[in-house]
Symmetry: C2
Subunit: 330 residues, 2 copies
DNA sequence: TTGTAAGCGTTATCAA
DNA sequence: TTGATAACGCTTACAA
């Protein structure tokens, strides 16, 4: 910067003013400075600016694993939205563990990210004492409930699963299984989707059979497949399956194929998320499609707003959704 | 830091020495300082450290789109490897456009990333004049050829596709189509994989029929599906298909299903990449599986090494691979 | 409209 | 073994 100033015959301050488009610089001087910048190949040092301003221009995004389609899609949208507001995104993987999620928060502060979007799947309000003070801009994205302590962008978990289950019933299914996570105690995604499932059954006068609840240790392709094997091998009569996510549904689809069960002929299947692959599966997957772009946009809007106004009252926002009817429930 | 120093009754410099585990601090003083740090809740300011050292501890990773399974997987591995070496990763999406790839380089320098891993799919050696000086640590990952100007971690494109095609021939296929990108002129992934396909045909004494080459505008699910439709509607007799990537193969699988063609009964299909979904597709997909973890580890090793020694001679490295035989070629 | 001085929080250097 | 000083590159506050 000093070099540029010398080249243009002005002070560093004037160079700074030109760079930041501040008013009060004569056109002539502005021109000389811009020319000097061009000649010298000068580029601002972001670290210095950061040190002075206390802002890094970086938002952290913490997800369980970036290579799960849902989180990849989420990241893509968040990166796009952040860029539009002049922020960069650093990605942290929590490994779907509470410790990883706590680490992500600590890390985010240490590295002076301006804010953090945390897609928590383990952490919840019961871990109160491990959560940070509310003075750091954190937006919770997805599922867990923190009792209004943070801004929260939620999925339409209950409504979505209810609509999906009702759709199976409309198609004539009467023995509907649900394949979901094993953490049915807390207030989390698993519980909420389960409640949506129960609500639909009740509303249509069907009984919920506890034997038709199959639980997973993780929301993965492998676990979904294994659950489908258990379902098929249990000998229970089942004509419909609600899977907790599309990724799990993809595993289920594969697991049913392993056992010679055809979808939708023998069993109808519905998922949740509308990952990009869903419409290309064989058969294509009916699913609850929350508006991912909306969620990413909301989350980024909330963090960036909170960067400017840290002490606003946290808000709760639920994404709109659509039920997509495809071959798996035809 | 001043506060800590005052609390411990020492100078800032001593605090710095303690924080960085530098020798020459008495145990007694070290203890006092650590206690003062605990009490005050002090945390280093990374920006200041960055300003002083010129290093940000961040590596950029530029990929076409983070929500394609292959790149998600790649990112997951790169983030893990980088963390093990004390680096963070910021992800940039290039949109699979040459301009986006150039931007990523410029961006990476502006933000003072310590280095950049660029998964270029458009840029190549012909764009010489737009490429930066070699003084900035860039590692090219994947496909394009830059004539030895950058460190380059390559896929086993030719060998892998050759092995995949030979496998189809072994299974009895005689009319083997290839579905790939449309940039068959440069030295890129598409050309190399095409050469591998041709090599296998030649070696086994089969003629390459130009009518069996189907090209795509992008390596996406949608394009793969559309190509399968064109293939089925062409009326040409085809008993095997080599798809340029697993994602394209997934689209092809769907497209063939749309036309009532069964895999592997009517047509055998093989992909490239071994994305996590491949083994869960219906039918499961035979594919060329490059060692992704190896590639990520190599790339991170190369950037971080180049951060320390910017002027080393660039090297060329090709990942090992395995041919995975699954249902789609049974 | 332009310039000067001070300071953001570290660390390298050298002196004590 | 410890400390004083200057410097990294920028911007805020104020003076000219």
């Amino acid at each position: 910067m000093s070099d540029v100033a010398r080249l243009a015959g002005v002070s560093k301050m004037t160079v700074s003013n030109v760079i930041n488009n501040r008013p009060g610089v004569s056109d002539q001087v502005r021109h000389r400075v811009l020319e000097a910048i061009r000649q010298s190949g000068y580029r601002v040092n972001v670290s210095a600016r950061t040190l002075k301003s206390g802002r890094t221009g970086v938002i952290g995004l913490a997800v369980p694993e970036i290579d799960r389609p849902y989180f990849g899609q989420l990241a893509a949208h968040v990166i796009d939205q952040a860029r539009q507001r002049g922020f960069h995104v650093a990605i942290e993987q929590t490994g779907a563990a509470a410790a990883g999620e706590i680490d992500a928060i600590a890390h985010s502060r240490t590295l002076h990210f301006d804010g953090l979007i945390l897609s928590a799947v383990e952490l919840d309000r019961t871990e109160d004492q491990r959560l940070p003070d509310a003075d750091y801009p954190i937006v919770m994205l997805g599922e867990q409930d923190f009792g209004g302590r943070f801004d929260h962008v939620a999925m339409p978990n209950e409504e979505g699963t209810k609509a999906a289950t009702a759709h199976l019933i409309d198609r004539g299914c009467r023995r509907i299984a649900i394949i979901t996570g094993n953490s049915l105690d807390g207030v989390n995604v698993v519980t909420r989707r389960y409640r949506g499932y129960l609500a639909a059954l009740t509303e249509r006068g069907l009984d919920a059979d506890p034997a038709l609840l199959f639980t997973l240790d993780a929301m993965t392709l492998d676990e979904g497949r294994a659950a489908a094997h258990r379902l098929a091998d249990s000998g229970r009569e089942v004509d419909g399956v609600v899977a907790v996510t599309d990724t799990v549904a993809q595993g289920v689809l594969r697991g049913l194929a392993d056992r010679g069960l055809r979808v939708p002929d023998d069993i109808r299947l519905v998922g949740f998320d509308d990952i990009p692959e869903s419409k290309f599966m064989v058969p294509s997957l009916s699913t609850v499609a929350p508006d991912h772009r909306w969620m990413a946009a909301k989350a980024v809007e909330l963090v960036t707003r909170r960067v400017r106004a840290p002490l606003r009252q946290p808000g709760e926002y639920t994404a709109p959704f659509e039920l997509l009817l495809r071959e798996s429930t035809r």
